[in-house]
Structure formats: C-alpha cells, structure tokens
C-alpha cells in the first residue's frame, strides 16, 4: 500500500493553486495521502487548505523556515516523510519543488522521477510517463525502490475536487538549532501583478522578439491579455532582449503552460518554446511569416503584421 506525502507550495500569503494538482496524482496511488506545508506564520494558509481527502495535514511552522532555503527545507521534509512513513514524496513541478525535493530524495536514499505526466499500472508495479528532450519525446520509467520522490507536471493533472470534510492537522516540531545553516536568504525581486499567474491562467497571451521593445510588448501583449483576463508570457528571445523579466519565459527551460487559450504574437515557434505550450487546448498564432513553424501546431493561424492585427483584435474584443 502506498503512503504518499504531498508537499504544498505557497508564496507566504496563500497556497499556490497548481501545487494542489499533485493531489490528483496522489489519489491515483492506492492508499492514504497526507499534505505537508512548511514555512512561518502559516495559520491562514493552513486554514485555506481545505482538505482534499488527505489523512493528515502536517504543518512545520517555524521562523527558521520563513524562507524556502533548500538545506533546511529538505531536512524537515525528509524528517516529516519518515515520520509519516511515506513511500512516495510528491509535489507539483516548480522551481521550489525542483530545488528542494531532489535534495530530500538524497536524504531519504530514494530515487526521483521529475515531471510525471501520468502513471500506469504494469503487472504489480507502477510505471511513470515523463517528457524528455524538450518534450519531443515521452519515456516510460519504472522505479526499483520501496520509496521514491516524484514531481508532477501541473498541466497534466486536473485541480483536485475539494471536499468539506476537515482533516486533522499535525504540527510537526522543528528542531531549529539542529537545522543546517550554510545558506542565507538575501532578497527577492517580485512584482505584484493584477494578472493571473502564468501557470494557472485560463488564457495566456505571449510575445516574441518582433515586438521589439518593452513599451510595444506591454501595449500589445499586455493589452490583449488584459482584455481577455489572461496572463502574459514570453519567449526566451524576448526575455533576453529585456522586454520582460525572466519569470515570463515559457519553454523547455522556463514555464510549462497549458491554458484553454494560448495566443502567440510574433512567435515563430522554436522547439524550446513549443515545448512549453503544446498542451494548450487552443493555440492561436499571429505572425507575418507564413512559414513559421508555430503554424504547424496552431489551431488557428493568422498571417499578417502584428502591429495592425493585435490593436484591431484588442479593439474588437473591447467592444463585444
């Protein structure tokens, strides 16, 4: 019987909703599953964490955990996993979980499988499907160990259905003085945004280098996103050109998104970017080059000058 512990991510204010998608995967294993939250001053977060059929919510709340430093977090997570008796330690893929979980895996002497898309049952064991080579291929892997660590790709799993049944909260004591302290948090640069999170949004509008500069990018890509209530993303080229900050980057080495509607403006469709959007339900491409590779993947393609098409689109959508 599997015993899964799901690590939940938050931004010190509220739970990051994509991190809940891992629960959907947890439910696919036979057996109970618990939730784990680390941080400081977590009361509001824990309250908002409506249990999704978890057998327990373990909370490690300590000033030493105020910032997600990998060495401390991995130690606490490994201890919690051992206490819970977890055979599977699981979280949604994010820079947070990718930074910390492999380290926890090592502390648990367990192998790890990253970016699980789905699981299958083969004979008595479970096999995992995961993307490789920028998503151009999918491998099926097995794990030969009595415990393992997984991260799940948020866009491959639906958000879990909540149920109102409360589940026990277990405060997990942290021996702060015995935590490693070789790492120190210095600062963070975060922008408050009124737009939805890129990985959570229903609509994503993203732009590429042909937008040339920040002003045009904000006006056209941002403008279209706002009229659709969507998030803004960008290609690596746009980030490199300084049009947008790095957290807007979608692609093999950036964020993976799978919105209901993705609109790519001035994006030719390099394979690294396509790897980040290919699971979107509807892809719209606007590009003046009719031979751009993105058109092979787009549900709807519009060939033309984005400087004319996008303002027209924004205006027409405003009116309706």
């Amino acid at each position: 019987m599997a015993k899964t512990l799901v690590l939940i991510e938050h931004d010190r204010q509220e739970v990051k909703r994509p991190s809940l998608h891992a629960i959907t995967l947890a439910r696919q294993f036979d057996g109970e599953y618990g939730l784990l939250v680390l941080g400081h001053r977590l009361d509001e977060i824990v309250k908002s964490l409506v249990c999704f059929g978890a057998s327990v919510t373990m909370v490690a709340d300590d000033p030493a955990l105020a910032e997600p430093l990998a060495d401390r977090y991995a130690t606490v997570i490994a201890d919690a996993a051992r206490k819970f008796g977890a055979t599977i330690l699981l979280a949604t893929s994010s820079t947070f979980s990718k930074d910390i979980l492999p380290r926890a895996a090592a502390l648990l002497d367990a192998p790890m499988v990253t970016d699980v898309l789905a699981i299958e049952r083969k004979d008595d064991s479970i096999v995992y499907r995961r993307p490789v080579s920028a998503g151009s291929m999918v491998t099926t892997v097995t794990v030969d160990s009595d415990r393992c660590v997984l991260t799940a790709r948020a866009t491959a799993f639906e958000p879990p259905e909540a149920n109102a049944a409360a589940c026990p909260i277990e405060r997990f004591a942290v021996a702060a003085s015995s935590l490693p302290n070789g790492m120190q948090f210095i600062s963070r640069e975060e922008r408050a945004s009124e737009r939805p999170d890129l990985t959570e949004a229903r609509v994503v509008v993203s732009g590429g280098r042909p937008l040339k500069n920040k002003e045009t990018f904000d006006r056209l890509v941002g403008g279209l996103a706002d009229v659709l209530g969507g998030a803004v993303g960008a290609t690596r080229a746009a980030v490199d050109a300084g049009m947008v900050p790095n957290d807007y980057q979608i692609g093999q080495t950036g964020k993976i998104v799978a919105p209901q509607l993705y609109i790519g403006i001035g994006i030719s469709g390099a394979i690294q970017h396509l790897a980040g959007i290919k699971d979107s339900r509807i892809i719209v491409a606007i590009n003046k080059d009719p031979d751009a590779p993105i058109f092979k993947m787009a549900t709807y393609g519009l060939v033309g000058d984005l400087h004319q098409i996008v303002p027209q689109l924004i205006e027409t959508l405003h009116k309706s």
């Binding site: 790890m112 993307p131 490789v132 920028a134 999918v138 210095i186 640069e189 975060e190 058109f295």
Partner: protein, 248 residues
C-alpha cells in the same frame, strides 16, 4: 580555489531526436550538455578573474564520452576525469558516484548545469548537495564570491522572479541559461587539449558500487497535434474562438 565542473554527454539538441529504446543512438552527434557548457564557461571566467586556481572537469560514462572530456579540456579546463561506466544510469546513481569523486578531489565549489537537455530531470546537483550535506544554489544566473572566497552570493531564477541567496563554501551551484554564453572552441584550444590528461577512474577505484534504481522502459514520440486552419481576418478569428472553440 579549486572548482569541479560536472558535465554530461548529450545528443546535439539541434539534431532530430533519436527514437527507440532508452539508450543513445550512437551515430547521433553528441555535445557537452549546453547547461554544463555554461558551467564550464563560468568556471573559466572565475579563473580569469583570478579567483580560482584549478578547474577539474568530471563526467560519468562510456569511452565515447572522452570526446566531450576533450571538448571540456579544449574550452580550458585543466584536467578531466571520466568515471568509466557504460550502463544507463539514473540521476541518483550519478550523484552517488560524484559524491565519491568529490570526497577524493575535495573541491571548494562544484558547478554543473541545472539539467541535461536529453533527460530534463534537474536532480543531480541537488541530490549531490544532500549527500554531501553542502549548501546549494540552483538555477543560478549570477555568481559572486565574497569574504575572500569563503562565501558565495548567487542570483537564482525562480518562478516568481529573481532571488538572491548566499551560502558558505564548499557548495553546489547549478547553472541556468542566462548565467553566461559559452566561448567558441577552435583549433588552438583543441591543440592545447591534447596535452592535458583525461584520467579514467572506475567506481571500484572510488570504493563504491551503485545500482541505478530507475529504468527507462520505452521512448516514444507524443501524438502530434493536428494541423490547424489559416484564417484571413481578425473578425474571422474572433468568430472561430467564440463559436467553434467556445473559448471566449
């Protein structure tokens, strides 16, 4: 300061991806994993700044990987070590092997790419840090040594933006794309590389045995998206999105 850079041989990401079984199709052109090239480049720049005295390159694999070891030497690494192992390993096995090597080499910093572009696992650096109980800085886009090289300050690229952390040395650093742009290597580098040694070690010599715990059963191309339609106007697009796709 001694830097150890770990690198992996991967199929050239520009080539058509090889299909079939888990193992590499050996006729495909191979390169040093682009993120590891960034790691090597950073080590070279740290040395050019006068902050490092020795750069050791380390990799795990079959004899064919010597090609990449030579490429690393051509970039400017002082010595290269290949731990001879022709099996299909998983990240945890690689991390354990590297841990044994690091016990022997005792570097002050270990730098490697955040993920290999063929496997995309993004695990080895972090696992290694856990095994060694060393601090880690992952997805780093800027490295600065402080306090007479007793601490390092790194800027990390996270989902929320940029984050700055400091760690003590020794530590593990994994590189992200925007850390630097690796130098081009041509003939003079290759000539110099010929005079530098590639040391071959085995797991036995390092006093350990590892067994990969993850096995790739099969590899396949995901189903292709069906080709879509070309539209002629903004009006047509809005109509389609509303009525056909029902997404507006």
């Amino acid at each position: 300061m001694k830097i150890l850079v770990a690198f992996k041989r991967v199929p050239d990401p520009n080539d058509d991806a090889p299909v079939g079984g888990g193992a590499l199709v050996s006729t495909a052109k191979s390169v040093i994993n682009p993120f590891d090239q960034i790691a090597i480049e950073e080590a070279l720049r740290i040395r050019e700044r006068g902050e490092a005295t020795e750069i050791v390159g380390a990799t795990v694999g079959a004899p064919s990987v010597d090609e990449q070891a030579r490429a690393a030497l051509a970039m400017g690494v002082d010595r290269a070590i290949r731990i001879d192992d022709s099996r299909a390993l998983d990240p945890y096995a690689v991390a354990r092997i590297l841990r044994a090597l690091i016990a022997k080499e005792a570097p002050d910093v270990v730098i490697m790419g955040k993920q290999a572009v063929d496997d995309d696992s993004n695990q080895v650096g972090q696992m290694l840090a856990g095994l060694l109980a060393w601090p880690q800085a992952t997805f780093v886009s800027k490295i600065e040594f402080l306090n007479d090289r007793k601490r390092v300050r790194c800027t990390r690229e996270t989902d929320a933006g940029l984050e700055v952390v400091e760690t003590t040395l020794p530590c593990i650093i994994t590189t992200d794309l925007r850390l630097n742009e690796p130098r081009y290597v041509s003939l003079p580098g290759l000539i110099r590389a010929r005079r530098k040694p590639i040391e071959i070690l085995t797991c036995d010599q390092l006093g350990m045995t590892v067994r990969p715990l993850t096995t790739v059963l099969s590899t396949a191309r995901p189903p292709k998206r069906a080709a879509g339609t070309r539209l002629q106007s903004v009006e047509e697009l809005i109509v389609k999105l509303k009525q056909e796709a029902k997404v507006l």
